[in-house]
Amino acid sequence: MKRPKFPVLHIWLDELSDIVKDEGILIFIILLPLAYPILYAMIYNTETQRQLPICVVDESMTDRSRDFIRRVDATPEVKVETYCAEMGEAQELMRRREVFGILRIPKEFDERLWRGQQAVVGLYSDLTSMLYYKVEYLAVINVAQELNRNIKVREHQSNITAREEELARWPIRFDEVKLYNSAGGFAAFLIPPVLMLILQQALCLGVGMSMGRARERFRGLVIPPTKHYKNTLEIVLGKGLVHFSIFFIMALYMAYCVTHWFGLPQLGHFWELVGFFVPYLLACTYMAIFWSSFVYRREDCILLFVFMSIPLLFISGVSWPGASIPQFWKYFGYIFPSTWGVNAYVRIQGMGASLGDCHQELLALWRLTGVYFILSCFVYMYEIRKSVGRTLFN
């Protein structure tokens, strides 16, 4: 057989036609990156909990307590589902999961307020989800603070002008600004990192499956016994290029289509995204090639790679704050492109950072690309030697 003019291109074509013919691989490199982001975005699409049912135990039964309850009911966060006569009844509703919180207004609520003393209302939250506690607490504390201001002004300070009243309510004004995720929603915070993880995991699975398949086909070798699979550099480049090119399209699909469809933050400029995706996908591809060389059966890689996704999400420092991750795990996370990629993507796409702002992450990604590329070369060098040995032996 004549040696082709562009062996890299040849290997690229070979690999591509191999992938297209294999439905097992197609699931992971086409279906997974196409469908999974949409599914995830749909799950979290509602962004936050609204109108969480709670019940009220109003022991005070006064005008003021009813006013308090009406205001709580009017918040977007919670809905007063029902009234209970006593705590036992309310607890029963909570056990049956009909309500997720109890607001208790004590008997002496109104009396104490008239006497100018502090009155305590109790909020009992179901901790099935931390979010329940957060929305209930926010709703009740906001109402309490507003009423406090009213009481302070109307009942304790008389004969004042409107301006003085305003000042008594708010001696200092404060603005709270939620940057980059103004609704404080779940989708805008969780989906971007998940997109990056999907890219890495799908790459690992796809590459792992195709290498496992090669090993099964060529009796333990990962390279086909044809002529143009002779040069390490050409093989590594050609193989890497296949997966890189497919996933580059997937990455753009995620950064543009999915982000746009679900109204996720989209502040990154095209060339900045490209400048990030190139090192990220290269690092992921060569990491996948390197780790896959340890997989001997094609199904084994599903077993090994799938459950890594969840620890990797946590180690990236997006869901669990990076500042609170123990040193050891921080260093452990450095060897995975996703740790850097998630942070860089979130900043470029979600916060409008420039490539310069993420230079640390990008540098790390290029370094990982280099390291994994060299390691992959070693793997293939070893494989070529093995295959030559076997041919001679045969």
Partner: protein, 391 residues
Amino acid sequence: MRQAFLDIWTIIRRELNTFSRRPIFFVVMFVAPLGFLTFFTTLMEAGLPTKLPAALVDEDNTHVTRQLTRILGAMEETHFVMQSYSFTEARQAMQRGEIYAIFRIPKGTTEAALTQRQPVISFYTNDTYFIPASLLMKDMRKMSEMAGLAMTRATMRARGFRDDQIMGTLQPIVVESHPLGNSFLNYSVVLSNLLVPGLLMLVIMLTTSYALGMEWKRGTQKKLYEMGKGRIWVIVFGKLIPQTVVYTVMFWLIDIIFYSYLQFPCACGIPRMMLWGFLAVLASQGFGLLLFEAFPGQMRMAMSACSLLGVMQFSLAGFSFPVSAMDAPFQWLSNIFPLHHYFLIYVNQCLNGYPIYYAWSSVAALLCIFFLPQLFSFRLTDAFLHKEYRA
């Protein structure tokens, strides 16, 4: 009957023999569960993250604002790692990911406060990082509220009010919050308690279809069928009992470490949690088996389905984002996942200590998922007799 048990025993011995020859079983059965356990419990050792990095932009820089910032600096969650006079500088630090929040005191704050002209202070949190942003927001809000109240208190003291009178005026209604079951709001309790069993359940689903599919891959399915004399239940029991035993022991180990060693709250006692753990193992095996019956003999498709659905169950279980907040189709979909039901049982039993009666539907659902593959066992018979592994 006696013969059936003997056959099961033969298949179990054959299965154990396979385990001993394939290191991957050792990795997924022992290394992975222990790895998850170590990872999550050490990662979230802090429980509630504290001392989160934030920036302070004090454009005013007077003794009043410095006092304000000292109070803020003393709060639990906030740690000022950066002090700057320019907001742009702080924003860039936020974009570099060095800080999660900015507290800004504009020029003229003190002057406005002294002359009663209502100064405005502002704080910015980076909500792309959800947990730290929520925690810092809480601190800063409390602080701002307090700052306003402190100013009124000073005036009232000067007018000769007693402190209890002042509190009655400044903060007449106090909200006392009781997060039930996890009063320290320890995130590790919420997350480790479900992520570790959840990952174990994912591994169980995958190994179930892996162990079964391996027979077709090695072309030994006919032999196995003969060993079981064509009785599907004998074959399935023989194949899966070794895994059931190992994974149940791992589950129990996790329970003991969580509730005895790490002292996570457990209102129902460890033995009860062990029982639910055992049920969760069975249901996960049932789920894996069900998917294998959906793609009989095709190990790769079954495993792909297992992994796609298995990872999805972490989102649909509802412990991070509540199921009640999702759209209706996903609320229904969540019911097919064993992790969702294990989660509901965990909340009912371990976190709240309610009678199991209130979570009976979840117990029933887990049993259902365990028994459901029985209905489709004819597909396995068909696969044993007619299906071959396709490369």
